[in-house]
């Protein structure tokens, strides 16, 4: 069933608050938690108003005193406006603050570029000790919220806004472990977030029809990146394609390219939002299609790239190219 990851987070957190008195929910007037939710959470819920820098500072102060705050804000404000507080007050001190950032990527849709976060993954994964995850559906969100209880340091979780489809059943989502959703020796399709992962799965089906077998990785954890799974998948492959709702620089594509350049050199093509601010109104689905972050694009990219991908020392894929 389609469900918003931000709602999945809220519904997963509320019962945990009751069981774990050290957990706090610090809000910045996001409206995600209703008055009823707040009443149920009692003193463990606080709405600190529209003041994201203060939100991060208060969370850090509480975490330094043994509390574990979940802070609610939009990804755009968390990672740009409050970045210094996250860097200095939270990451530098390795404090267990959970930054629950909604409206990630293009999820803000029609709200426009002020509310879209297309740099957040680059920014957050640059911070030492920060765990960065992008759940691809509601079930993964619930799993990550539960797993965060055992995480000693800071955590950034990129959430969506509206309902997005669930992933097909696969290996259980575990922070730090890439999920191999499909195995194939020719290309690796690596992505994160609801629409990109589904697009890669669909692309793999189409590619199989062309005789190209794809490994599909859901790399929901950008930091620490599961380099073992990634390099093992890339070893036999002639091409790695990344797809994400993020500007092309610095996000998942950046993380994958950096890792493979050092460990398993193979051609990497990064697909993402082009180097521009969104210039038109549209839902998340509309903008995803507008910027061609689609299965068709992945298929096209793979077929074009494999035409030229054969390199010395590797068994090329030329036999698959018509």
């Amino acid at each position: 069933m389609s469900r918003a990851t931000r709602e999945a987070y809220r519904d997963a957190l509320l019962p945990l608050l009751a069981r774990h008195p050290e957990l706090m929910c610090l809000d910045s007037d996001t409206g995600l938690f209703t008055a009823d939710h707040a009443a149920a959470a009692g003193e463990q819920y606080l709405n600190l108003g529209i003041a994201e820098q203060n939100l991060m500072g208060v969370a850090a102060g509480m975490a330094a005193c043994g509390r574990v705050p979940f802070v609610n804000t939009m990804a755009a404000f968390a990672t740009s406006r409050a970045l210094e507080a996250i860097k200095i007050d939270i990451a530098y001190n390795r404090l267990p603050v959970r930054i629950m950032a909604t409206h990630g990527g293009l999820a803000a849709g029609h709200l426009g570029p002020t509310h879209q976060a297309l740099e957040d993954l680059a920014v957050m994964r640059a911070l030492p000790g920060m765990t960065v995850v992008v759940p691809a559906d509601a079930a993964a969100t619930e799993a990550f919220v539960a797993q965060s209880l055992d995480l000693p340091g800071p955590l950034y979780v990129r959430l969506g806004r509206k309902a997005t489809p669930p992933l097909p059943a696969g290996p259980p989502p575990v922070i730090g472990q890439a999920q191999t959703l499909r195995q194939g020796g020719d290309v690796v399709l690596a992505s994160c977030g609801p629409y990109p992962v589904l697009a890669c799965l669909a692309a793999a089906d189409v590619l199989a029809g062309h005789g190209i077998e794809a490994t599909v990785l859901n790399m929901h954890t950008l930091r620490p990146l599961d380099t073992e799974t990634l390099t093992a998948a890339a070893r036999p492959a002639d091409l790695v394609v990344t797809l994400e709702e993020h500007w092309r620089g610095g996000g998942l594509g950046g993380a994958v390219a950096e890792t493979l350049a050092e460990r398993e050199p193979v051609r990497v093509v990064r697909l993402g939002v082009p180097d521009t601010f969104v210039d038109q109104v549209g839902s998340q689905e509309h903008l995803v299609a507008h910027y061609d972050l689609t299965a068709e694009r992945v298929v096209r990219t793979v077929r074009t790239a494999l035409d030229t991908a054969a390199r010395p020392g590797r068994s090329g894929r030329k036999e698959h190219i018509s």
Binding site: M24, E43, L46, L48, G49, A51, Q53, N54, M56, G57, V58, A59, A60, G61, M62, A63, A64, C65, G66, R67, E84, A85, I88, D89, Y92, N93
Partner: protein
Amino acid sequence: MSGNQLLERDALGTLDAVAARIRRHVVDMCAGPEGGHLGGGLSCTDVLTALYFSVLDVDPRRPDDPHRDRFLLSKGHAALALYATLAERGFFPVEELAGFGRPGSRLMGHPVRAVPGVELPTGSLGHGLALGCGFALAARHAGSPARSFVLLGDGELQEGSVWEAAIAAATLRLDRLVAVVDCNGLQLTGATEGIAPMEPLAERWRSFGWSVREADGHDPALLAEHLAAAPWEPGKPSVLIARTVKGHGLPFLAGRPASHYVTLSPRNHSRALNALRATEAGG
């Protein structure tokens, strides 16, 4: 104040004598290879003395006691004064102060957590009050009577995040939170009032819902009296506006923006120590 603290204070001498020792350390540190934030270090020395030698319930032998009072130097560039105070209070050996600014020392130009007694690193301005709110909230949730103190610079009040935190503290009725503004009237390039005026400061804080007092920032006993008595109004956070002089104790630098960051030459180092001695002798 606990009996333990009274005993230690008697052993160490009066607050003025402690402050004088701290000032000498600050001056010495500014004679090191990197120099230091001399003016702002000397303007807040008496506040730090009042806090660490009379007000704060802290124990250098148990720096992580969960029920301790917590202090944050939000104006982190005054780190050298904090280090000198912590060393005099017994958090680490006074001899270590000689390493300030020298390669390999943990005494960086802004406070870092590696230094015993430093609660959290500070230095980028405008962070301390929000952190202090977090301390105070956590103490409240834990049912602890501990108080949280934050020392801000008056130039620092130009950072909007200070006022975000001021709103939060008053709204949350954090009356175990106490702020002190080291109001020396100067920032790096000139008079604070000429660059981004904040007066009438007391009225501004009051309008944000804080309980406000003003005091001579160079009278540690008086400062201690005010700070020990906080909260001054139930349900309200307290802010003490300490009227201070940048570079206090050094007539050739006092009240001048040039005192902001100084590397003292050997000649000026002697001159500064002589000036401190003269000031102390003159009472």
